[in-house]
């Protein structure tokens, strides 16, 4: 039974009718016991017999050609097997959903840190030693490494609605500000890793990857072989945040080396290599212009930005994505410029666009409220548009106003004091808020559900990168088939299973979840037929089927396995309606008036993100995103060298992701009940990225409230805060 479904119209809210009562509950993750006992198997935990160890060698020039390598020197090191260079090696990881090989450069160097060779040895120690001792000769070329000064820029046609220029010039109150954000790293805790093993002309690759279906195609294209000869395994992935969307250089190198040497090869990036070569989030330079009437109606919105990337990468951080649909105005205009530089390529990092764009945009909204003498909450509530301001589509489901007011009530926003007037000892106290928005997507996805008696198995190549896929797919299946969740086994991360969306863009639960739902719905029809009732009249609960005054146990009805496979893809609803998660973030900070240190004291996020599939894992996702907001606002900054573009902060001691002590215990998340009928048949929206979108801006706005000083360059490290306090 194969079902192909296109999302052309709203579907019945079946998950509200089913009786098992497991959907939405805060069920513990079924994979939890393995994770807490160290028995969940991540890529590098495997060590097949006969395995050799590979370590990548990096280029140490910004641009040029490799003219030679002193291979013999390192081949003489005890235990070293080979120094592998190959035209099929890839310059950088594939962009998300590429499905084809990334740029293959042969002997060309395009950025400092580019992987250019793989040293393979019998031991990790020998491979690492030799990789560092390999002398490489170059013909270096001049390269532009700074987005500020590179002559090579591309500016897109502006996205517009109405007439921004006349709205702007007519505005009674204007805000015109420039902002900067630095490059950021995904910095997943698991370094990128791959183990390749060939059997004849088939390769099996274990790798830390988010999108197995696409990654399979990427590896096949990289190697120049048929995809049917590739199998990818990624049952556990130690965090992704976009950095493992695409096949990486370590995987290509492992596959090439394993083929050449006829034995399994494991390549785990060192942490420094992760910083050097994994796609970074671009730095941004932003300009936000807001015009309004004196009574607080926004009339003009413009958000222009400059981001960067290397030649050959189509990705550009979509900085103004949320600015285009959060608030209405008479005239709107958004222009992006991409600077081409010879530096570590840029790609998707958690909430590409919103994560940094909303820092600036929502800070500008706050400053407009100040200029108007209005409460920033009131300004936002007053300017929510009826429909998408650019393309006029209706919103599929939007409880932004409810999130703002509910959040304000819970946070105690009404008690807000005059900026810069509250202190506790040396600490200045302030509160701030911001809207949250992250557009929602549906990506083609397939899944299979097998049912034997009261035991079900879900099969899809979908991944669980910490998001809770194992839990939610079990819950959807259990709910649909009327089984305890413990009776459902979920198999993920194997490219031999039906291809899913993968984990990215917050669309994984929507897409893979819908495919599982549809497959289970197919099984319900089969069960109804066997019971002799209409599918609509069927009730499944605790392994019992009821309908039309009949009742039977699933163990009787389904004594031998039945299975159903379903595929979902987006359809007419994606064009007719605009779907996005919405929310509101609130933060309280303390700023030390002497040292400029900033501590977040509490945060609240109120979010409407469609149906919640698992209250516990959803909350974790939201919290994690909010903490990323703290990082973007306060601690995270990748620095690169102005001369050769190399990343200076290339380890976890120099790139500061938030630590425990940066995060207060008082971190609250509230979900407002919502169903998005236009999004998908399970009425869900993405969760993983909404938490970060706007969260940092709430922190930034709280800093302004505490100190009466506005920061425009983020993160607000102590040196930047001190400069403001001195000024």
């Amino acid at each position: 039974m194969k079902d192909h479904f296109t999302m052309d119209s709203p579907q019945p809210r079946l998950l509200d009718e089913t009786k098992q009562g497991v959907i939405g509950t805060p069920m513990d993750r079924p994979d939890g016991p393995r994770k807490v006992s160290g028995t969940a198997d991540y890529t590098a935990d495997h060590a097949p017999d006969g395995m050799a160890h590979g370590v990548l060698v990096r280029a140490t020039i910004a641009r040029g050609r490799i003219t030679g390598m002193d291979r013999d020197t390192v081949l003489g090191i005890d235990g070293v097997i080979d120094v592998i260079t190959d035209p099929r090696m890839i310059r950088n990881p594939a962009q998300g959903m590429a499905g084809s090989a990334p740029v293959q450069t042969g002997d060309e160097v395009h950025y400092h840190g580019q992987p250019i060779a793989l040293v393979v040895a019998e031991t990790f120690e020998a491979a690492r030693d030799a990789a560092q001792r390999l002398t490489v000769h170059y013909h270096a070329e001049a390269a532009a490494v700074s987005p500020e000064t590179t002559p090579d820029t591309e500016t897109d046609d502006p996205v517009t609605a109405g007439d921004f220029d006349s709205s702007w010039s007519a505005a009674e109150v204007q805000i015109d500000r420039a902002y900067t954000t630095p490059s950021q790293a995904a910095a997943a805790m698991e370094p990128h890793a791959a183990i390749a093993d060939w059997q004849g002309d088939h390769v099996t690759l274990r790798s830390a990857l988010q999108m197995v279906r696409f990654n399979k195609a990427e590896l096949a294209d990289t190697l120049g072989i048929d995809p049917s000869k590739v199998r990818i395994l990624a049952p556990f992935v130690g965090g992704g945040f976009g950095s493992k969307l695409g096949l990486g250089p370590e995987a290509a190198a492992a596959a090439i080396a394993a083929q050449k040497l006829g034995r399994p090869v494991r390549v785990v990036m060192t942490r420094q290599t992760v910083f050097d070569t994994v796609l970074r989030r671009s730095e941004t330079a932003q300009r936000v212009r807001l015009g309004a009437t004196k009574d607080g109606r926004i009339t003009a919105i413009s958000h222009d930005d400059r981001v960067s990337n290397i030649d050959g990468e189509g990705f550009a951080e979509p900085v103004s994505q949320a600015s285009q649909f959060l608030y209405g105005a008479d005239g709107l205009s958004f222009t992006q410029t991409v600077a081409r530089i010879a530096a570590t390529p840029a790609g998707s990092v958690r909430a590409p666009g919103e994560a940094v764009g909303m820092l600036a945009f929502e800070a500008a909204i706050d400053e407009l409220a100040d200029a108007l003498g209005m409460d920033p909450l009131e300004l936002r509530l007053k300017n929510l548009p009826e429909k998408h301001p650019i393309d006029g589509r209706p919103y599929s489901a939007r409880r932004l106003a409810d999130c703002l007011t509910e959040g304000a009530a819970r946070f105690g926003w009404a008690d807000r004091w005059q900026a810069g007037t509250r202190r506790e000892g040396d600490w200045l106290i302030g509160i701030g808020m911001a809207s949250a928005a992250r557009s929602n997507m549906l990506v083609k996805s397939s899944a299979r559900v097998r049912l034997t008696g009261d035991q079900a198995i879900v099969e899809t190549d979908m991944t669980d990168i910490g998001t809770g896929t194992y839990a939610i797919l079990a819950q959807i299946t259990a709910e649909m088939l009327g089984l305890p969740a413990a009776n459902v086994t979920v198999r993920l991360g194997d490219s031999d299973l039906p291809g899913a969306s993968g984990s990215g863009g917050s669309f994984g639960a929507n897409s893979a979840g819908s495919a599982v739902f549809l497959a289970a719905r197919k099984l319900r029809a089969e069960i109804a037929e066997r019971l002799g009732c209409d599918a609509e009249g069927l009730t499944l609960q605790n392994g019992q089927a009821r309908g039309d005054n009949r009742e039977a146990a699933l163990t009787e009805l389904v004594s031998e396995e039945i299975l159903a496979e379903a595929t979902i893809q987006k359809g007419k609803t994606a064009k007719s309606h605009f779907s996005s998660g919405f929310g509101a973030h609130f933060a309280e900070v303390a700023v030390n008036e002497w040292t400029g240190e900033i501590r977040v004291r509490r945060m609240l996020g109120v979010m409407s993100m469609g149906r919640i599939l698992n209250e516990k894992t959803a909350r974790s996702q939201a919290l994690g995103g909010m903490i990323w907001g703290i990082g973007a606002a306060l601690t995270e900054e990748m620095q690169s060298d102005p001369r050769d573009g190399h990343i200076v902060t290339r380890d976890l001691a120099n790139y500061h992701v938030p630590a425990h002590a940066d995060v207060p215990g008082d971190m609250q998340v509230v979900f407002l009940e919502e169903r998005d009928d236009w999004a998908n048949p399970i009425q869900t929206k993405g969760i993983g990225e909404l938490g970060i979108s706007g969260a940092g801006a709430a922190v930034i706005n709280a800093i302004s409230h505490a100190t009466s000083k506005r920061a425009y360059d983020y993160p607000v490290l102590p040196d930047r805060m001190v400069a403001l306090l001195e000024g």
């Binding site: 807490v36 020998a126 805790m189 992704g240 976890l652």
Partner: protein
């Protein structure tokens, strides 16, 4: 060269390169991959183990230097079928997401509870002679364990819950 280790109360004689770290020995020589390599430089805490009862980064230990030492890894704390109170609390509170830093967090928390019981102060202790089990204390003491999924508040709730259970 050869080094004798006691790991999770089991004796091992390991033949190894002098350059081998305890982390690589555990993972690749002794088949105990629960201890994770997140940075290999003492900057993330994913490889936290107990060495003679104290938490350390296994990546910053040369195996050669630990002849005769007693080591406890996550595998020695509990199995999926028989979890420790702390492990159970992590599951119940969702004190993880991807799970990669989790063994290190749990090893670190195991030691933390003992350190507080011993009266050891921290940077945020109001008084160097007191060690309270407040959230700020747990946060400071756990700061050597990064979690990029940022399960921090839930990790600390789990630790507090397990600590309460002990009292």
């Amino acid at each position: 060269m050869k080094t004798y280790l006691s790991v999770n109360a089991k004796s091992y004689a390991v033949e190894h390169d002098p350059r081998r770290t305890l982390l690589d020995t555990l993972r690749d020589d002794l088949g105990l991959p629960g201890t994770k390599k997140g940075c290999d430089h003492g900057q993330c805490g994913a490889c936290t183990i107990l060495l003679n009862g104290e938490r350390v980064n296994a990546c910053l230990c040369l195996t050669a230097m630990h002849d005769g030492d007693e080591i406890t890894t996550i595998e020695g704390i509990g199995s999926p079928e028989l979890l420790s109170e702390l492990q159970k609390a992590f599951v119940e509170k969702d004190g993880y997401q991807c799970g990669f830093c989790t063994p290190g967090q749990i090893m670190s928390a195991t030691a933390l509870l003992q350190e507080i019981a011993n009266g050891a102060p921290s940077y945020v202790s109001d008084d160097l002679d007191s060690a309270a089990l407040t959230d700020a204390e747990i946060a400071e003491r756990m700061s050597g364990n990064l979690c990029r999924c940022s399960a921090y508040p839930l990790i600390r709730e789990a630790i507090a819950m397990a600590a309460e259970g002990k009292e």
